[in-house]
């Protein structure tokens, strides 16, 4: 085995061309390579920032876009929200004496929770290695935190649903219901950190508002499902929850887009924009139907379905907007270039170089 040519005392056998100077002298300004982007605004888009003038390497993306499949990961974001908020709705219904709403909430929680876990495993490149998720716990990795959350939440939601359906072991059921309702809000909200903790511009730049969008969307979905499943006499809390959810989701989304500037563009263009617009229409229509048609069982159920679909469309829209922002170098280069030219420091406080990990067994 040869030894390194580079030592602390210098380089052995350095190549003779190392000190050569290149032929290009004196910067004469920027020429070539510059890519002019004209505004390509379609219907429904707003000019929030001036057209970007920037340079790139043959228009190729700077980032490697996520390898995640939309059915798995957008579905995972939606189902996690539906499950977490449904656990809360089910627990509230049990506490206030609404057995049918309680049962439907618990069934929705275990159904969506189990499906979200299945989606997470299915999206792995090596599904058989899912349990490697549980060999460490890292707060620097929202996916690690989420794996542990789901590992605790899904069994609790399962026991809560099983006891609700069979009517056996009521005390165990009550404890499991309380446990699932405790972890539920975290299950519904942590996915915002999951996608924001990436270099994907449309996801990262929305990290302040994304958790509120997500819990709003979760409340919309859980309320909508309650309107579908629960009898009219027990629907009032579901309708109120959906109302709060739609309001929170729309307000937080609006705030997020306004603050983000350029990197919010994918939320109003392309596939992401279509899903987001669809979501807003469904949410408003579903809410109107749920309130105006509250005396009709059928109108309530149809409105509930629209609300559930609105929540899913939000997640698919956010997912695709992220892909769009990762695939276009504009969203990476322009904000960073502006930050440099304005001399602004990047936001944030500090980060851990060596995150705390707890090895479990393997060494």
């Amino acid at each position: 085995m040869s030894e390194s040519d580079v030592t602390r005392d210098g380089v052995r056998g350095a190549r003779p061309g190392r000190e050569a100077t290149t032929g290009a002298v004196r910067d004469d300004g920027r020429q070539g390579g510059r890519r002019r982007r004209d505004g390509r605004r379609g219907r429904g888009e707003r000019a929030m920032v001036p057209d970007a003038d920037f340079r790139s390497y043959y228009g190729r993306s700077v980032l490697n876009p996520p390898t995640w499949q939309s059915r798995d990961i957008a579905g995972y974001l939606f189902l996690g929200g539906l499950a977490g908020a449904s656990s809360l709705l089910g627990a509230g219904a049990q506490a206030t004496g609404r057995p049918a709403l309680a049962r439907s909430g618990k069934l929705a929680a275990i159904g969506a929770g189990a499906l979200s876990l299945a989606a997470l495993v299915h999206d792995l490149g090596r599904p058989l290695r899912f349990l490697h998720m549980l060999r460490v716990f890292k707060v620097t990795s929202p996916m690690s935190v989420g794996s542990w959350l789901l590992a605790g939440y899904v069994p609790l939601a399962g026991v809560a649903a099983a006891t609700a359906v069979t009517g056996r072991l009521p005390r165990v059921g009550a404890a499991a219901t309380a446990g699932a309702a405790t972890l539920g809000p975290a299950v519904a909200s942590y996915t915002a950190a999951l996608i924001s903790d990436t270099a994907v511009p449309a996801w990262h730049d929305g990290h302040r508002e994304m958790p509120y969008v997500f819990v709003g969307s979760a409340a919309t979905a859980a309320g909508g499902l309650g309107l579908i499943a629960a009898p009219s006499a027990e629907q009032a809390p579901a309708r109120a929850l959906a109302t709060l959810g739609v309001g929170t989701e729309l307000a937080a989304f609006e705030l997020m887009e306004r603050r983000m500037g350029l990197t919010a563009e994918p939320y109003s263009s392309g596939t992401g924009g279509r899903y987001v617009r669809t979501s807003k229409v469904l949410a408003v229509a579903g809410l109107a139907g749920a309130v105006l048609g509250r005396r009709s069982r059928i109108a309530s159920a149809v409105s509930g379905a629209a609300l559930v679909a609105a929540s899913a469309a939000t997640r698919w829209g956010i997912f695709h907007a992220g892909l769009q922002s990762a695939n276009d170098p504009k969203y990476t280069v322009v904000p960073q270039r502006q930050r440099l030219e304005e001399g602004r420091p990047a936001t944030g406080t500090s980060t851990t170089t060596h995150p705390v990990t707890a090895p479990t067994g393997e060494g």
Binding site: G23, R26, P65, S141, A219, P237
Partner: protein, 311 residues
């Protein structure tokens, strides 16, 4: 036993000749599968590997620019050749003078500079930056990505379950998933080679020392000297990229000397490790979770306020 110093790469793109020996050496040593671009050609100058990914751990970028070049002195005496000189060039007598000393007269030198052109070619061998604050390592949920004793960032392939979280976390677009394999792959800075005192395959193969391997503090000193030399020669646009330990990723273990803005080479101009904002994200997640609890409580309370109508 004391820990070895932090090791890294200094890639001086001003002497890169675009030979791709680094790409080949990396592929061979690490047994990386072939990944020909669609149709075999990219159509982007001489670039044949498009960018870093699971099966490309060294990528040579080629940038063509309409930009006047300065004259370059090859350092040998010469006179302007005529077509007659070239046709009657006595190569045997030139060879007889030997290669150890420059001949007194070269009728037609291949190094003849000619007029200054209006075209320049930038070439740069890109690689994993082995960040001080590495987002891929931070977000890895299995602990598969780890920091070695050399300060480099390496994937343990027997641990990786292919969750893909590191892929969008990397601010440079380095790490990626191998489709038929499911796991993620990237440059290891030849962890197997440097552990036994050998330099990484790419640096070993580089014929111009554009890729230099060594202790990071020494590489930084050398890069500073090289930058001063180029600035002294009038090449004002030369700049170091990833050299600054105070940048958004705490400095790169593999840094570069560039002759244009980073984005021209496909590099982000001001990358920031995404986990720098994670404490704030968790705070907002916590607040949002509490808001959801409050929202559900309010939803049930509203049914009491409205007269207990259960509908």
């Amino acid at each position: 036993m004391t820990a070895p110093p932090r090791m890294g790469f200094f890639t001086d793109t001003s002497v890169c000749i675009g030979c791709k020996a680094c790409e080949v050496a990396c592929k061979e040593w690490n047994a990386i599968p072939a990944d020909f671009p669609e149709g075999g050609f990219t159509g982007t100058s001489m670039d044949s590997s498009e960018g870093l990914g699971a099966d490309t751990w060294r990528h040579v970028a080629f940038v063509e620019q309409r930009r006047p070049l300065g004259g370059q002195d090859p350092g040998v005496p010469r006179t302007a050749p005529t077509p007659h000189d070239v046709a009657h060039l006595d190569v045997l007598s030139l060879a007889g003078q030997g290669a150890s000393s420059a001949p007194a007269h070269i009728p037609a030198s291949p190094a003849e500079p000619g007029p200054a052109g209006d075209f320049r070619w930038l070439m740069s061998s890109d690689v994993c930056k082995h960040c001080t604050h590495a987002a891929c390592l931070d977000v890895c949920p299995t602990g598969s990505l780890f920091r070695t004793e050399f300060g480099t960032v390496v994937v343990q392939e027997d641990i990786c379950n292919g969750c893909g979280y590191c892929v969008p976390a990397c601010p440079y677009g380095v790490i990626d998933q191998r489709k038929d394999d499911g796991r993620v792959w990237k440059c290891t800075l030849c962890y197997d080679r440097i552990g036994v005192g050998a330099e990484p395959a790419c640096a070993k193969a580089c014929p111009t020392d554009s890729i230099q391997f060594g202790p990071l503090d020494e590489l930084r000193e050398r890069a500073d000297a090289r930058l001063a030399q180029l600035h002294g020669a009038g090449i004002d646009e030369a700049r170091l990229y990833g050299r600054d330990p105070a940048d958004g990723v705490g400095g790169d273990g593999a840094f570069f000397l560039l002759l244009d803005e980073p984005e021209v080479y496909g590099l982000p101009p001001d990358p920031v490790v995404t986990t720098r904002d994670l404490p704030r994200m968790w705070r907002h997640v916590g607040t949002a979770a509490l808001a959801l609890v409050g929202g559900v409580a309010a939803a049930f309370a509203s049914t009491i306020v409205t007269g207990g109508r259960r509908r």
